[in-house]
Subunit: 321 residues, 5 copies
């Protein structure tokens, strides 16, 4: 579905175009056409492929989706694939944006995502002095928008982790915590698979040899790369903390179990002692003189109570009860 | 065993050849011979070795099998070894494909595998504009076919992992889960030993210095490398998740064990209390006035029941029962 | 808020300047202006941006804060972002310093931190032979001050770790230790996120290609990098030790639990034996001849005591009690 | 001890030489001398050092042994040190081979090993077209022989691991398994210390800049490197599997322990219930009407049996018994 | 404190010098001055700093100590900092050696260590043909001496590890083992912090671009690097083995605990059964015909004994007792 299509010269919009009018603006100097599509199929993409001479492999990748984030150079043109990440309740939803960039055109194709990039075009049109950098600035603006949408997801993951950390040293929360940590790890890994290859791909757009079409916007790509590096750093930190938290959680289970074992041992000891004493005076020997004493029974009870008390005191001091 | 053998010029098939006719087509410009063999031995490979001047080390590696996936340059010729991966029920079966590539020939040799590559030749012949890239396109097409067959295996491993994850937080499934995780890890490692070296080898076919025979198909090799990188990413993710799942599984065992210990402690406490009380009133002292009371027995039962109830209530609140 | 602003020539201060006077000193050879701001907003930074022609992306990064430590080249100018680390009781507080460096100016902007850099200026002014290196020496001096403030934080973390290590093999301290180790790990990770990217960024200032504005102070940047590498080494060592300590702590819990289980087993055995014997002589069979013996009762007590003693001795020797 | 010594020209043996005759063959074009020593001391090596102008550091390393596998260039000459690995029962025995290679000579010195290389010389002499590559081919042949002898050791380690895996999910085998896994890890590490540095050193003999003396045999060194990379891959796979197996083994212990705890809890519950009931009817209250009933005793037994049965059934269903 | 100071030409000692005489020997071709200091302060180092034009940063680093091992180039001069490692009983003591190297001088400064380097000078003077390489050979000789002193420390750590391994599978040694493993890890990490950065720094002295002052001794620095790589390899192996041993130790605790639990369960079962039986026949029902039988009591005892025996046999066979 065509979202919009317009021609720009020196940073200013010339006109909104119908697909048929695009050809007239190609090959004009300092002019480029910016096309935005969504959920297009092969048939819809086909005329654009001819118009912009897109490489068949790039078109195939864009249509098939399921790509790793990547940047491929085809001569002077670029094909860029990025992941869109939506936090859809419990699970992370993943969409994709493919961007084709050449000297005179930018074509973005959004698949399987409800996130739109209208704000990107508006903002770009408000800054003609930047937009005059040409297609590479549009690519930057799209990348920046994609990366900006990673931040709230990272924040949510970090908040979730902090919430788990609140209860990690609470008795009885271990089962819940381990489940939440595992689920958090899953979501983190999904985000990481969007971020890590993109970071790698961004390193091709600044620093060393840069594709000619991007050379004017190098500082801007470096800035996106810095933001992404921050996200990546946060992901790695959360990842390491989850690993530690899982270990700590296991330790807490073991400690709690150990506490219960101690308590069990302590009370079992006290009652076993009482039962053994009672059992002894419950034996049926005929000649057990203490059984005849008037004070025998209270004395027995007193003895049992005293020993129980002593044991209880010792266990208390040892921290078992 | 010779599967087929044909000569191609400018992307079109000239003729199917018998081995004896091959020599006539070598050294013609823009022409190459594509030979497919399977399960060949030294004797069968020998005439081809002479015809195409294959390096003895490459021939030895192809015949011996058991190679790591690799790409070796011998002057302007290439020797490529890849793993074929079949999911044969519980275990992953491994076959191998060796490909010899030179300016005028491609020779593929498939060993120990029932997977065939007939579809590759058909598809290539339907796209003469691509096939005119020459032997390197055939190499690409074979690699692409090999890599495409890794995807369903990865999908099966991911599905298996998800199935295990369903029961990872279920009580009593720990033994089964740990066995399945271990088996999954084994299979994953086998696949990884096919994929990781191949990813490394593919990096020699695009980007930096590329063997001259492959230079026309560089974009295509990069595309295969991208696909393989995706598979590799998926393998690494599964691998990390398995490691986490094994840890989580251990935690679940510990938590479950701790729950049982608590329950054991709780019930042991209640019964031990009852037994101790009963033991006391079962002692044979003569002077135990309560034994003579009419309501002594019901009172004793009531006391025992009340204390048991109180204990039960406390343990319940503590989440032990 | 403007802290101070002065012009320097050949290492000596020419004059303290008001913002309006700065323009006159720019573009004079061997002269530079050193401006220090704190907690500035866009409005306050705006005149400086025009005066020094700061790149809008750099200004945006400086104002927004939350940057990874980084160094960005904009033509011949540099933008440097560093983290300030304060040990605010339990948690590490983080501030930021942004430094803009050009041929004729240095502008430092401190955000969210109570640490000041007055000492840096004083020391620099006392060493004119070094300050004549120009803006790059000021950048070095600021970096050196930032890095010097990491050392006490590392020392505190190391001291905390050593304190935990004192009690890691003490019975009953496991819960406390694991909590402290986890908290320590958190703080360590925060410090690491300040240090690791800064180490990476410093490698751009010495050794290979160095930004021209920094070339005179290369030895000095290498020295800061050495200090930071030492801090990084200490952080990595603490990190690895924490991981080991968490494992060891788990082992200690398991060992302690095992000791309690042994003791429980031992005493349960002794009392269960006594109770079983007592129970047998408490049976109501009519024909139990030993019940009629005069010495029956003492003999029974003696037997129970003897067997208990034997068991106790055996368990003692086995180290269970 | 001198094993043998011969001169070769264009791949053919000229003559077996005594040490005194060697000098006459040096500096003849296309001719080289191949000397094999074993367990030599400084005195024995000294004449060869003068003859071939071996560097004192290389000689010292060869005599002292205990070297990491390494390759050192001394001008146009090479010094190579490799580990020989024998599977001597439970422990891996380690010998060493030092090889000195120059334009006109190869000297191999085998220390502390009963493995011999006679087969290498025979095979080389049977292939004069390869041996004419000169000393570098001899070096290749020796390396190939060393590496070939690693394969059976890896196979034994893999077989041992598979054997352990058979019993890893068997109850009661945990202690044995953990001991065997630990021992296996030890042996694996020993082999790895032979293989990993050798792999690194082999990368100097093919691909990039290659020592001139080796340039003719580059394809052959790459082939050895491929074989070694396969061994290294197998070692890494075994290593990772051992780590997983140790974790799994711990899980199995925990699961088994948990099963025993459950069983203990179940039977303790049943018997404690029975004992408590019996204790109650064993109390000596005068007014316990059920004691006088004719069917009191069978009813009591029946009640105890019924409750025991119910408990047993519940525990059975819960999988505890 | 000045230890000694002498001038050398072409490998031979010219004269022992007083500090005042040194200036006369500088700038003479093929001549250098070798000065050894220990525990010097700024005042003592100051004249040498002027004489040899040492860079202030290098001097500051040498005096402050606490450096990471490193090598810094200042123009054509070098500053090298290394750690000395003494095994002072339980803890590793650390000293430092700083070496300043220029075309005409070597100055070594030893801090906080009782190890001396007199042997280095003697040996160097006995080998004039090597010492004529100049200051770089002295640097080599000092490095070689430092590295040689790491070997016995590594050997001690390896011996300690082997001793721990002897008792790792012994019951009841877990607590002791875990303490020793932790202490060993600490010491290992200290040694590693001396070795790892030194290995990195040595790579600057051979292979690629080498500081001009060191170029004559490149083979010698490579030899030191080889030795250090061996030490590093041993450290990494010990480190990995410690990690495995800690895991194995935990497994052994769990296995031992599991054995005790089984035993406890078994004996608890036997006694609980006996007590329950005795309790039943201890009930006070009037109509319990077996109580009146003459053989009732022996039969009851027999039954209890038989069931106990059967249980014992079953537990025995299951390996629980």
């Amino acid at each position: 579905m065509l979202i919009n299509c317009a021609a720009y010269r020196e940073g200013h919009k010339l006109a909104d175009l119908t697909p048929g009018e695009v050809g007239a603006y190609l090959d004009q100097s300092d002019t480029f056409v910016w096309v935005a599509l969504r959920d297009a199929d092969a048939a819809e993409l086909e005329p654009w492929q001819h118009l912009f001479k897109l490489h068949p492999l790039a078109v195939e990748d864009a249509l098939k989706g399921q790509q790793r984030p990547k940047i491929d150079e085809y001569g002077n043109d670029l094909f860029v694939s990025m992941h869109l990440v939506d936090w859809g309740g419990a699970e992370i939803q993943r969409g994709e944006v493919a961007v084709f960039v050449g000297a005179g055109y930018v074509l973005s194709l959004r698949q399987h995502s409800s996130q739109h990039f209208l704000g990107v075009r508006e903002r770009a049109e408000r800054e003609p002095e930047l937009l005059r950098q040409g297609p590479s600035f549009v690519l930057y603006a799209l990348m920046d928008a994609v990366v900006d949408r990673y931040f709230p997801v990272v924040d949510l993951l970090e908040a979730e982790l902090e919430e788990i950390e609140q209860s990690i040293f609470t008795n009885g929360a271990a089962r819940d915590n381990i489940q939440r940590l595992y689920a958090l790890k899953r979501r983190l890994m999904q985000l990481r698979r969007a971020v890590a290859p993109m970071l790698e791909m961004l390193s091709k757009l600044h620093g060393g040899r840069v594709p000619p079409v991007c050379s004017k916007s190098e500082h801007y790509f470096r800035d996106v790369a810095d933001h992404l590096a921050r996200i990546h750093g946060a992901i790695e930190a959360v990842r390491e903390t989850i690993a530690t938290a899982i270990q700590v959680n296991l330790s807490m289970v073991a400690i709690e179990d150990s506490d219960v074992t101690k308590r069990l041992a302590a009370w079992a000891g006290i009652f076993a002692m009482a039962t053994a004493f009672a059992g002894i005076w419950g034996m049926n020997f005929e000649h057990m003189p203490e059984l005849k004493w008037v004070w025998g029974y209270p004395a027995a009870l007193g003895l049992i109570a005293t020993v129980s008390g002593l044991l209880w005191y010792r266990f208390r001091r040892a921290g078992w009860i």
